[in-house]
Amino acid sequence: MLERALTGSTRYKRLLGVLLVFMGLGFAAYLTQWNRGLTITGLSRDVSWGLYIAQFTFLVGVAASAVMVVLPYYLHDIKAFGKITILGEFLAIAACTMCALFVLVDMGKPMRLLNIFIYPTPNSILFWDVIVLNGYLLLNIFIGWNVLEAERKGTHYPNWVKPLIYLSIPWAVSIHTVTAFLYAGLPGRHYWLTAIMAARFLASAFCSGPALLIMLSYLVKKYSKFDPGKEAIDKLTTIMTYSMLISVFFVGLEFFTAFYSNIPGEMDSLKYLFIGLDGHHNLVPFMWLFAILAISGVVLLLNPNVRKNEKMLLAAAACVFFSMYIEKGVGLIVAGFIPNPLDQVHEYFPSLPEIMIALGIWATGFFILTVLYKIAISVKEEVA
């Protein structure tokens, strides 16, 4: 089936070309990091994780796109999702690959990567996160590829795929839970030390994943002969709406606990994010943008007419996606380090090479996504 990726319209090739340029730029920036070390980033002794780990955290959520179409289709037999399970699975492949790359570029000694497997350490959550993320990547590759191949041949997928499909559903829950546990179990990081961290991860994943899938489905419909189907999009919209409401509610819960209890350690990170702390407010504009986007998304989605109107729905999905991006991919990680353990504020802002590397990885993810979607759509067009 791979050969379908090699042929295509000029638009397809141009898109791949543009992505390749960004990948090249990112790779060049990574070479400077390889030669000079993480000194080229904005990271510091006090904010030791930044853009890379934040992107990783957000993208784990995007990988949830798969389970949100697989679960209703295979467990509840909702036929409408049958057509787009492949789009969800392939999006998960791209997202998991980006996650792995973001962890890799964040490492100070990437050539020692295999130490994680040579000295397996079950008490480290990072060890488990490597396992669940790679596992989810492999599951989606096996499932997506085999189901699509069967569709092309007009047969039923092999029986051994079925247990993998069922396994992939709880596995999807595990990637969010384990990633949340990376942060939620650290003493002294008040902003992360919250029991609803895993629940927040699941809720935001189940809205940002479907939001991106809705936007991608629209593009697929517009630029190919394959129509993902209105019913599937409607159902995804319902899932996204509920998850978004729960996400916003969860953020509100954090505010209540922090400010009603009035414990300084609980309040400080939230203050830093939304009004600034000790005269430092790098992230304040981003977090207000998050608030505006989140509220706009909720207001739009609560209106049934918006959900039925394609253009308005896209706007709402974009609000959801970008608000969750800011919450996870900008605020959550950095604010965990502010104030530092000595109650001082040392701010972080990513450097240009750091941003280029991040863009390069996003481009890599979208390159993989484009190629996989091209294959899937070609097969769908042939079969139809």
Partner: protein, 260 residues
Amino acid sequence: METGRRNFLKIGGLCTLGLGSLRLVDAIAKTEEPKFLLNVQALSAKRWAMAIDMKKCWEKGRPGCTDCTLACHSTHNVPDIGTQKEEIKWIWEEKYENVFPRQESGMEPEAIREKPFILLCNHCTNAPCTRVCPTKATFKRPDGITMMDFHRCIGCRYCMAACPYGARSFNFRDPRPFIKTELNTTFPTRERGVVEKCNFCEERLAAGKIPACVEACKCKALCFGDLEDPKSDVRKALASQFSIRRKPELGTEPGVYYVI
């Protein structure tokens, strides 16, 4: 190169024999002697700990004294990067409000508020850093020291996120050009991309010497010893004076005590 089945089997057989003989060598060369001999002078303890008497430091020490920091950083080839962002430090000074945040009364004597406190790795009994390390590059020794293996560390910096005391530093760049003290060739310098911190001078303990900072302090403000031994200096110092530890509510059980 052409080769027949016969040749292939011959070479294969020889290879297997060769590899197998390694085990034979191991078996014959086996001795009762242990591979490493412990220095008979080595200092040992059930639980190494430190008591820092800040009053002694302030009253007897000269103002601005940094003897302990200098001794430690030159002993361990700690680089002076020169920026706050990438600073590497094993033992350093901070103010009371930063060392004991949320423990201020707000009405402390000015001396307490303004004078420097000494900070270093707490060598916690329940160290969060060793709990999170994905490669066991940082680990607990049976004698309570939280150790760091610079050659195994992958530089993920999870330990830095986990440490509630800010005791860990990361080598963002090659540290070697920034070693401004005389190079100590008996202690490894670090590479770019690994985490480092105080090691309670385990290399000196193994050679029968007390930690460099303790030795360097002329006013004897730093007191080092076995917490499990009631006759040790540390136990005596702690038994006779009131002491506190940093962030006791986190349950990490620090091994560094402060007498104020």
